[in-house]
């Protein structure tokens, strides 16, 4: 008898385990829109983003929005790769890079946004053309992403420390910059906060040096193999990193500390400047998070006198929303509607005024009473860019170039010569091609 009871219970438990998927019939009638973006966390920009999604859901009770966005880069990448591998791509997502997007287009994973932009003139014509054109893929017609964030990368610096070091204004040229570094060292502060354990930080610094020395188009030429990482001019861009390192512009700890720690050094007044993007503005103006908040100002990376033509070739952050190329019918219509709501003029006004987060649109202006000086400084200088690049490897088809280039640049901080670093990167290209 006991055996029979045990047997029955066992079999029931097995059945329950396999049937425990729940009753999803109610949800099956609704259109489901999945989002996988980097908009996660507790920042004000995420609050605006969540609020817009909530408005969309209220407007369409027959739609369920499943927001699977991840703030952490690794978690995001892992989730995206799993979705790509299993063929369950979200409706709205983002993929890093430009040149590597070709195969996503060929396999119909990315929707061409150009017809949608052309169709809705009011929405489509409001975007910053440079940001929009960033997502034209070599060899393909169309535009494959809607830019959702833009801002200038540059130096946030501590005016007080600069004054103490006897530097009246932020240096405009590379030579003035090197002099300033010496003066900052003389007052025993770290001239540039850098945490190269987070390799992107030194990668970003090199991107900007690269654009100032060779221009944004040179990055495209690296991607199309018209120039090589071992070419003297390209090696020179790595040499500038070495020059800074040899001059002790960074802390000796730089290769071993994370970017968070380096940022804290800057926020506490231990370091005079940090090269980073506009996403840090909200913490830099927060007295609780940044004790030296009142002294922080923003400046563009200095230019090279001999390369004055690239004075305004800037690294900017441009983040995209992409939509799946396989959408059809109501699901597609709703996805596009949500995308438009997230990137509309109204959204742009909310993002900038409530979160100091810049949508790359030209059809609105920030309310000067609502945004801070630091944001305005970044925004004003961003208008001077006559060439915009994001990461140099964005134009390379080889996915491993993100890690390869950044790691090799870190090796320069550890004593490798710029030519060795260039050869290491070029070797990766030879191996993968």
């Amino acid at each position: 008898m006991i055996k029979k009871i045990i047997k029955s219970l066992t079999l029931c438990s097995i059945c329950l385990a396999f049937l425990a998927c729940g009753d999803e019939s109610k949800d099956n009638d609704k259109v489901k829109i999945r989002l996988l973006t980097r908009m996660a966390g507790t920042s004000n920009s995420v609050k605006v983003y969540k609020d817009i999604i909530s408005q969309f859901e209220q407007k369409h009770p027959d739609v369920i929005v499943v927001d699977e966005s991840q703030g952490d880069e690794s978690s995001f990448n892992n989730k995206l790769k799993t979705d790509l591998a299993s063929g369950t791509l979200p409706n709205i997502f983002r993929i890093q890079g430009v040149a590597n997007l070709g195969e996503y287009v060929d396999t119909n994973l990315l929707a061409d946004m150009k017809p949608i932009l052309d169709e809705d003139k009011e929405w489509g014509e409001g975007f910053n053309k440079g940001a929009l054109n960033y997502y034209t893929i070599p060899g393909k017609d169309g535009i494959y992403a809607i830019p959702m964030e833009q801002g200038l990368m540059g130096f946030y610096y501590n005016k007080d420390l600069f004054n103490k070091a006897g530097i009246e204004k932020f240096p405009e040229t590379w030579d003035e910059f090197l002099v300033a570094i010496d003066k900052l060292k003389d007052i025993n502060v770290i001239p540039i906060a850098l945490g190269a354990k987070s390799t992107y930080s030194v990668g970003h610094l090199h991107n900007q040096i690269f654009y100032r020395w060779l221009g944004v188009d040179a990055a495209k030429k690296l991607g199309s193999r018209e120039i090589k990482w071992t070419d003297p001019e390209v090696v020179q861009t790595l040499e500038f990193i070495k020059v800074l390192n040899d001059k002790d512009a960074f802390s000796p700890s730089a290769p071993g500390i994370s970017n968070d720690i380096a940022t804290t050094q800057f926020k506490n007044g231990e370091a005079a400047m940090i090269f980073t993007g506009p996403w840090n503005i909200s913490t830099f103006v927060d007295p609780e998070k940044t004790p030296v908040y009142a002294n922080i100002d923003f400046a563009k990376f200095p230019y090279f006198k001999e390369k004055a033509e690239f004075k305004n070739q800037d690294m900017q952050v441009i983040s995209p929303y992409m939509i799946s190329g396989n959408l059809k019918g109501k699901e597609k219509d709703y996805t596009i509607e949500l995308l438009k709501m997230l990137t509309s003029k109204d959204a742009g006004i909310r993002y900038v005024n409530e979160a100091e987060f810049l949508l790359p649109r030209t059809d609105f202006e920030a309310d000067r009473n609502k945004v801070g000086e630091l944001f305005l400084a970044n925004n004003t200088l961003a208008q001077t860019s006559d060439g915009i690049g994001v990461d140099v490897f964005d134009f390379d088809k080889i996915p491993s170039m993100q890690d390869r280039t950044r790691n090799s640049i870190v090796s320069v901080l550890m004593g490798a010569s710029p030519m060795e670093a260039g050869e290491e990167i070029q070797e990766e290209i030879s191996r993968k091609e």
């Binding site: 047997k7 195969e103 994973l109 290769p255 996915p399 993100q402 550890m414 191996r431």
Partner: protein
């Protein structure tokens, strides 16, 4: 012993085993088969892209890949040092604690504590100790040992050793508990007889404790080999495989190749090589510790 004859008993056993078996097949056997297929294929990780058969190309590429060879060297170092230190230290601690010295329960808890923490948390804690301005260097400076202050996780000669030392520290408690359980199975009469025959503690250790614990020591070594080959989270939390790939292990490289570089074929080939390597080392270890002969 319960004898099973009836068909209904067999069904009952099957009923109990089936859920676990299905889960095992779904999450172990099928992915393993998948990895074997991918290891001889080229696939970029897109469901819509074809999986192209390339034979042993991925393995050939790995044999000439500088990064893989560095990771392999690191892994061998990790295995050798872990096996060389884990079990001997754990054995000494287990014997000391088993002697019921004063405060033995406290010592047992202290040595076991690192084992219960998540490895990621352990890795982060040691990262803050080893970082250039971390606790270790501050301590060395405070006792005027400035000449020994080094960037532990950056320096080529110290980075991997620092991680290995943490792996040893974090694992000792686990093996100590296993060996303590083994010590509890040795009859006290053996030690009493040895004492009557005049054997001192050292002789008792080598002539009774070690031979009696040999099967347990064998298990510890096998687990240690497999554990050392599988280390991932510790590396990720402390260095992410950097700087410049210096502290990569095949496990971290597998992750990078598959999930960062869209190279699932190469990533799977690393996984298959690791599996073969682990199996070979386990067979070798069983052979050396006499497990094979004993089972016969």
């Amino acid at each position: 012993m319960i004898k099973i004859h009836k068909k209904s008993d067999k069904m009952l056993i099957l009923g109990f085993v089936l859920p676990a078996l299905l889960i095992y097949v779904a999450f172990q056997i099928i992915p393993l088969m998948g990895a074997l297929v991918f290891s001889v294929s080229k696939w970029n990780g897109l469901a819509v892209s074809p999986v192209k058969f390339v034979g042993l190309d991925n393995f050939k590429i790995l044999m000439n890949d500088k990064n893989f060879l560095i990771s392999l060297k690191n892994m061998i170092k990790m295995v050798v040092f872990s096996v060389a230190f884990h079990t001997p230290i754990a054995l000494l601690l287990a014997v000391a604690i088993n002697s019921k010295c004063r405060g033995h329960k406290l010592f047992k808890a202290i040595f076991f504590v690192p084992t219960i923490f998540p490895l990621t948390a352990v890795g982060l804690m040691w990262y803050f100790i080893f970082m250039p301005n971390g606790a270790l260097n501050l301590f060395l400076k405070s006792v005027n040992l400035h000449q020994h202050v080094v960037p532990w996780l950056i320096n080529e000669s110290t980075a991997m050793n620092a991680i290995i030392s943490v792996n040893i520290w974090v694992g000792v408690g686990f093996y100590m508990v296993i060996l303590l359980a083994g010590l509890a199975t040795i009859p006290d009469e053996l030690y009493e007889a040895a004492q009557i025959d005049g054997a001192n503690s050292i002789k008792q250790f080598f002539l009774i404790t070690i031979p009696m614990l040999k099967p347990i020591i064998g298990i510890c070594i096998v687990m240690d080999i497999i554990g050392s080959i599988k280390v991932f989270d510790l590396i990720f939390a402390m260095t992410e495989g950097g700087p410049n790939g210096l502290t990569n292990l095949p496990t971290t490289l597998l992750y990078y190749e598959s999930f960062r570089y869209d190279n699932f074929g190469k990533g799977s080939a690393i996984g298959v090589l690791l599996l073969l390597l682990a199996l070979s080392l386990v067979f070798l270890s069983n052979f050396l510790t006499g497990e094979k002969r004993r089972n016969k």
